[in-house]
Structures are given as structure tokens and as C-alpha cells.
């Protein structure tokens, strides 16, 4: 299909987070067209859990902050709604429980049998939403057959670093 046809309307969300308990967690969501051209970017200010939250959430703290708290906020906030959200943080994948947009996380090829190849990477869906695989296989995978879908996540990480360094300056 040529530029300007329906492929041009495919919008991808790239969602990742950086940080730690000391400095707080920040997440960013970059929405691009299928060629990687940026359309919208949303990021959070650092979210830093206090001592009580760290104790009481225990091991669920990071998935909660990254997924339900900040990633969900970003997805709700973004104006250009993506048709597919890709991440490289398994903690963020839990967000799928709270949004209707199909989500995938980059995995090593050998990590799981329930994986799907999109572009140059291998992804897996949330275990409760394996039907997302069908959606991607039927509608999107062929459009992105040569795309490097890890690269935009790198851009998001660099942008988050930029915001942190500017905030610290």
C-alpha cells in the first residue's frame, strides 16, 4: 500500500518506564504512525513511593506503579489513541487489565511458546489476553513486517532521561 492509504492511519503506542525507588519512576508513551514518525508523546513526572507504600505493596509495588498508576494515566491522557501498545517492561503488561487496547511486551525468542513475531522483534501478550495474538496476526503483523519496533522504545527512554536531567538542572 502506498503512503496515504489506510496503513497511514495505523498508530502505535510505545510505552516504557525508567527509574527506581530512590528517585522515583517515570514513564513515557510515544504514539507514532506505522513508519515511526512521532505523533504525540506523554510522560509523567517522577512517582516516588513512600516507606509505607513500599512495605504494604511489597513485590507488587513496581508493577502497580508502572502499570496501573502511571502507564494507565498516560494511556488515558494521550490524545492520539494507539491501536496497539508495545512495551519492553513486563511490569507494564499488567496495564492490559485496565485498558482495552491490545498490548505486547518484547521477549527473548526462547522465553515463551506464546510469542508472536512483529517486525524484527518477538512479543508476547498478557496471559489473560492471548486473543490479542489473533488481532495482531490478522491485521497488523504484515504491515510491520520489516519494522524495528524496539527502536522507538529507545527514543522514549532517551526522552525520559532528558526530562529527568532537565528537572535536575
Amino acid at each position: 500500500m502506498s503512503v496515504g492509504s489506510r496503513n497511514d492511519k495505523l498508530k502505535l503506542g510505545f510505552l516504557t518506564a525508567i527509574g527506581g525507588r530512590e528517585k522515583g519512576y517515570v514513564a513515557g508513551l510515544l504514539v507514532t504512525n506505522q513508519f515511526g514518525r512521532p505523533l504525540e508523546f506523554q510522560c509523567t513526572t517522577p512517582v516516588k513511593p513512600n516507606r509505607t507504600q513500599q512495605i504494604l505493596y511489597g513485590p507488587t509495588l513496581v508493577p502497580f506503579i508502572m502499570g496501573e498508576l502511571i502507564a494507565r494515566t498516560l494511556v488515558e491522557k494521550v490524545g492520539v489513541k494507539p491501536e496497539l501498545i508495545l512495551t519492553d517492561r513486563t511490569e507494564i503488561l499488567d496495564l492490559r487489565n485496565h485498558v482495552s487496547t491490545p498490548m505486547f511486551c518484547i521477549v527473548e525468542e526462547s522465553e515463551t511458546d506464546d510469542s508472536v513475531t512483529i517486525g524484527q522483534q518477538t512479543f508476547r501478550a498478557h496471559s489473560s489476553f492471548l486473543s490479542d495474538h489473533e488481532m495482531i496476526a490478522e491485521q497488523i503483523a504484515s504491515m510491520l513486517s520489516h519494522a524495528d519496533l524496539a527502536e522507538p522504545l529507545e527514543r522514549v527512554r532517551m526522552a525520559l532521561q532528558e526530562t529527568i536531567s532537565l528537572a535536575a538542572a
Partner: protein, 621 residues
């Protein structure tokens, strides 16, 4: 949580009695005379209160998970100009007119499976140092790497750029003020066009003005067609009324105009009617080296957001010329005169210059050979007479003498070093003929440059056996392209005779492996431009460059002066870069060729002719 608490007293103690240790409390303490010491002598009063045990929990601490609202920062990217999709690539690639592009096309291309033969890197756009707002900085950080943008996904590139070209594109993209000063043949045009293309697509530019010398307008149009065919390009031409319409046409993203029209038309505009641009690009920007010229003044007055300048020779004669370019870039104040140290710092910030030696490590070498020739006897006689009489005449002029008089003598002597006008004897022709016999027998092709069209025609008559073709200002424009085509395709055509003025710029002749400089131009940069017609991207074999210099003549002395002057300019644009310097002789130096002193007060007036006019050369001759 209530159920977790046991209200009943335990029947048996479950906690073992703790071990005790007696400590004597008979401590001695001194009493500080405070006036309250009598109170310390009173016995302490002890009272007891009884309290009932609780039969139920009266206070239950509770905790509800609460998180402050997450603050977000948003950035929406401007919508770039959408162009019609480009037509499918031509099936017959042999129609390409640009041999340079053929060479780039030969580079390893991305394979369909995403792998490449050549190691790929990601050239990322960096925010300019002056960009402070987080939104502006993120705009650059979040752009896709150039390789991804230009590798046939969204923006189709006919050929894959080199790594240094990606770097140049990214640098231009991020720069509001930029002087791209790559050596000739490294693709400044392509880098500028691609950066413009990306900025248009990113929505950062809407309206661009490109100013170039008139003969290069077709070249720019062709390059736009090649590298960004979806971008409409309009040339400012026609009568004044038509040009006015074009200047003010809001829908044309890219306007191309020549320097003369720009200066003339903008003078005619009322101040508030002048068109405004997001970007103004000056090609061959050394055209504005003279700050006082109307061209330079008009260029500086153009209302614009970004200023780019392109030139392979940022310093033509004096460091002050670089200051004029910086003034156009608006990085020095009006009339500012930065010293050498400041110029060097500005050069680091605003100039990107790469030489072929640095980036084209796979380009075959250029092998220069200076051939010092003794004049033929008749030449020698004619030269001595002309020099002797000329100097006598100059001395007789006294204070009437001007650099023009000296210059005329120089030209006359230089012509004699080419051939004796009476007998036609020529040591250079004899040597050239010997070279050409060897070159033609091996099927090679050579280009020869001279500054005189008359000399070129004279050579043409005497070298017909090598299938000579002539390309100079006297050849009608329509006939020039077929001549180049014939030189490329005709196996019997081994020698192309060109003038510096017409042949030195903008031509791609990398199928020729030999270059002869029959006589020397006034500055080395023009000679380098001429040589680079053959020694450029796409050349697969070493290029042999032969410069003829007649011994014990004016040619030898001029060559020496030019070599000495190169040294000064290395200090500004970097060591090892001696190709950016185009140093015409000034008046004092021309007088010095005959051990005479300049009468001109300033002593720095340039007398070398511009290479753009062959006719002026002949007239001077």
C-alpha cells in the same frame, strides 16, 4: 484485624523472667550553685493511679492506599506538510543523469529481511544547544533515527547516503544557523535537500528560499527531483510582474532564485511587503563574502527563521570574508569583526566541514604531479622579450602604474608559457601529446583545463587525433550537455578541453582518470574544484593530476606565493585542511612578482579575475 487480638489474660506466663543485674546507685554529684538547690533536698512525691484493663479495642489504626495524582507532560508533534506520494522508481535506471548518484546507488542496500551488508548505525537528531524548553528538546529526541526515516519506509531515498552524509543531514536539521562547508564532491546539495525534506515533513518549515548562482539552478532542480521529488520547487523567473507573483505565492514550499534576481527584486519590494521565509539557504555562499555588496546586504535583510550557507570554500581570500558569512548566519553582530581566535570558536560551533581525505577513505587517491618544463626556444625568446619590455614600460609609467597594468603583463607572460604566439612552439603541448598517446592507447579519458578559450581552441586544432571535445563559455548552452554525453560514451573521445570558468563547477566526470592543468588558475580552490570533476564519489580508479609549470617564469613565482598563503588559513579551519583556501593574489603580491611595490594604498585589492567569465579572460588576454 479485631480477631487477631487476644483479649484474655494468659493463664501461665510464657515470657521467661529476664536476667537482672544489681548496679550501685551511690553516685556522687556536685551541686551547682543555682539558687534552687534547696528544692533538690525535698523528697520526691510519688502518687499512684489505678487503671482498669481494656475489655475491647477502642482505637483501630487504618490505612487506605492513596496516591497523589500523577502529573503528566504532553507534546503533540506538528503535522508536517503532506505531499503526493512519489511515483514508482523508474524502471530504466540507466537514464539517470547524475553519475555521482549512480555511484551512491552502488552502495550496499538494506536487505528485505532488515539486515544489511554494511554495518548500520543510528544517526539521531540532537537538540540544539541553544534549545532550552523541554518541549523543543523532546521534539528532536523523539524523532526516528535518520536511517529509519530514509531507508524506504516513509521517505523514499533513491540511494543510501554515506554515514558522514547522515551526520551532515542531522546537523543541518538541528541548526538554525549553519555553514556546511564540505569539500567539493561530498554531496552538500543532497544533504541540504534531505534536511529540508525532513524539516518540511516534521512541520518545522513551510517556506524555503534557496539562492544560488544562475547556472546552478537547473542542477538544484535536478537534485530536488532526484532526492525529494515529492516537494514542489518553483524557480523565480520571468518578467518583474511574474516574479512578484512567484515571490509572494504562499503555496510554494521551495523557491529557487539566483543572487542577482534576489538583490534586484527585494530592493523593489516595500519594506512591509517583503516575503518571509522559514529558511534561507545560500549556495556558493562565498558570493556574499564582501559585506558591502548589495547582494550581501540584501541576503542579510531577508526575513527568516533559519539561515544556512553552503560553500566548499568558506574563506576565499581573507578571514574577514568568513565574518561576512557569520553575519548572514546572525551569529556575529552587524559589522562585528571577530579576531582569529573568535573565528575559530565560531567555526567550531557553526561550520561543519569534512574533506575527502577524512570521510572518503575508500575513494581512490588523487595523485598530483607538478611537471616543471623548460620553455621551447622560441617561447623562451618571446618570453624574455615580453618580460623585459613589459617591466621597462611599467617602470616608465611612474605613479600612473596600476595593478591592472601589471596584471596585463602577467597575463601576456602566462600566455607565452602556454605557446609561442608566432611559431606555435609549446613545451606543454609536446609533453601533453606524449601523455595523451599513452592514455588514448589504453582507452583512458582525460580532462584538460585552461583559463583561455583561445588556448583551448588552439589545442583543439592540434590534438584532433585524440578525439578532442571542447567545453567552454563560447559553446552554446544547448550544445554543452551533448558534448559531455559524447565524451562519456564515445570510445574514440579521449580528451575534453575545458575552461576553468565553465567546467570547474557542478559537473560529474568521474569516468575520467586524468586531469591536466595546462595553465594555473589564480587560486588553488578553483583548481581543486576543476580536479574534483573527476576525483569525486563514484571514481573507481586513482586520478592522475598533472600541473604544467614553466620553469623560471611567472608561473613558478605565482605558484610559490599561493603555496605560502595556504598556511595562514589552516589556523582557522583546521590542520590538514588545505583545500578550503582559495587565495587570489592581492595587489602587493602581484607587484611583488616583478620586485615592484604596489602603488595602491591598501595593497590588498584582489586582481585575479573571477572564474565565472571566460570572456573576461579573453578580453584581458
Amino acid at each position: 484485624m479485631d480477631s487477631a487480638i487476644n483479649h484474655e489474660q494468659p493463664k501461665t506466663p510464657v515470657i521467661p523472667r529476664p536476667p537482672t543485674q544489681s548496679i550501685s546507685l551511690s553516685l556522687t554529684a556536685g551541686i551547682y550553685a543555682s539558687g534552687m538547690n534547696s528544692a533538690l533536698k525535698r523528697s520526691p512525691r510519688v502518687e499512684c493511679e489505678s487503671a482498669d484493663l481494656l475489655d475491647r479495642i477502642r482505637y483501630v489504626p487504618s490505612w487506605k492506599p492513596h496516591w497523589a495524582k500523577v502529573q503528566t507532560l504532553g507534546l503533540t508533534f506538528p503535522e508536517g506538510i503532506e505531499f503526493l506520494p512519489p511515483p514508482p522508481p523508474p524502471k530504466d535506471e540507466s537514464n539517470e543523469s547524475s553519475a555521482e548518484l549512480h555511484a551512491v546507488k552502488d552502495l550496499p542496500q538494506s536487505k528485505p529481511d532488515g539486515g544489511t551488508k554494511r554495518e548500520r548505525t543510528a544517526t539521531r537528531l540532537k537538540p540544539p544547544d541553544s534549545t532550552l524548553s523541554i518541549e523543543d528538546r523532546l521534539f528532536y529526541v523523539l524523532q526516528a533515527p535518520l536511517e529509519a526515516m530514509l531507508s524506504g519506509q516513509e521517505l523514499i531515498m533513491p540511494f543510501e547516503p554515506f554515514a558522514f552524509q547522515y551526520e551532515g543531514i542531522a546537523w543541518l536539521f538541528s541548526k538554525g544557523s549553519a555553514l556546511l562547508a564540505d569539500e567539493m564532491g561530498l554531496g552538500k546539495t543532497m544533504q541540504a535537500i534531505t534536511a529540508i525534506r525532513l524539516l518540511l515533513r516534521a512541520g518545522h518549515l513551510r517556506r524555503i528560499l534557496l539562492i544560488c548562482p544562475k547556472p546552478l539552478i537547473p542542477n538544484w532542480r535536478r537534485e530536488f527531483q532526484m532526492w525529494a521529488e515529492e516537494i514542489p520547487v518553483v524557480t523565480v523567473e520571468g518578467n518583474a510582474a511574474r516574479r512578484r507573483i512567484i515571490w509572494t505565492m504562499p503555496t510554494a514550499p521551495v523557491l529557487i532564485a539566483n543572487y542577482e534576481l534576489m538583490a534586484r527584486d527585494f530592493d523593489a519590494f516595500e519594506e512591509d511587503e517583503r516575503p518571509k521565509f522559514d529558511l534561507v539557504v545560500l549556495d556558493e555562499a562565498q558570493r556574499i563574502k564582501n559585506r558591502e555588496s548589495s547582494t550581501a546586504q540584501t541576503a542579510r535583510s531577508l526575513e527568516r527563521k533559519r539561515s544556512w550557507a553552503l560553500t566548499g570554500t568558506p574563506i576565499e581570500n581573507r578571514p574577514e570574508e568568513l565574518a561576512s558569512l557569520f553575519e548572514f548566519l546572525e551569529v556575529v553582530p552587524p559589522r562585528g569583526t571577530p579576531d582569529l581566535r573568535q573565528l575559530k570558536r565560531l567555526a567550531n560551533d557553526y561550520i561543519l566541514r569534512r574533506t575527502k581525505d577524512l570521510v572518503m577513505t575508500d575513494l581512490p587517491p588523487r595523485l598530483d604531479r607538478d611537471e616543471y618544463l623548460d620553455l621551447a626556444p622560441a617561447q623562451q625568446y618571446a618570453y624574455q622579450i615580453a618580460e623585459k619590455e613589459g617591466i621597462i614600460q611599467l617602470n616608465d609609467m611612474g605613479d600612473e602604474i596600476s595593478i591592472q597594468h601589471v596584471f596585463e603583463l602577467v597575463l601576456r607572460l602566462k600566455q607565452i608559457t602556454n605557446f609561442d604566439p608566432l611559431t606555435g612552439e609549446s613545451a606543454k603541448l609536446d609533453r601533453l601529446t606524449a601523455h595523451m598517446e599513452e592514455i588514448s592507447s589504453s582507452g583512458g579519458k582525460a580532462i584538460l583545463f585552461s583559463q583561455w578559450t583561445r588556448c583551448i581552441d588552439w589545442l583543439d586544432e592540434r590534438l584532433k587525433q585524440f578525439g578532442t571535445l571542447v567545453y567552454h563559455g563560447g559553446v552554446p548552452t544547448k550544445k554543452r550537455e551533448p558534448i559531455l554525453q559524447q565524451f562519456k560514451e564515445d570510445p574514440d573521445s579521449h580528451l575534453l578541453l575545458m575552461s576553468y570558468g565553465t567546467g570547474a563547477v557542478g559537473l560529474n566526470l568521474q569516468f575520467a582518470g586524468y586531469v591536466f592543468l595546462f595553465d594555473r588558475w589564480w587560486n588553488p580552490a578553483v583548481e581543486d574544484q576543476a580536479i574534483n570533476r573527476a576525483h569525486r564519489i563514484g571514481q573507481k580508479n586513482p586520478v592522475f593530476v598533472t600541473k604544467f609549470i614553466s620553469k623560471n617564469t611567472i608561473e613558478e613565482r605565482i605558484d610559490l606565493v599561493l603555496q605560502q598563503k595556504r598556511e595562514l588559513f589552516k589556523a582557522i579551519l583546521g590542520d590538514g585542511d588545505d583545500t578550503n583556501v582559495s587565495l587570489s593574489l592581492n595587489a602587493a603580491e602581484i607587484f611583488g612578482l616583478f620586485d615592484m611595490k604596489a602603488r595602491h594604498k591598501k595593497g590588498t585589492k584582489q586582481i585575479g579575475p573571477t572564474p565565472s567569465s571566460d570572456s573576461s579572460q579573453d578580453a584581458a588576454a
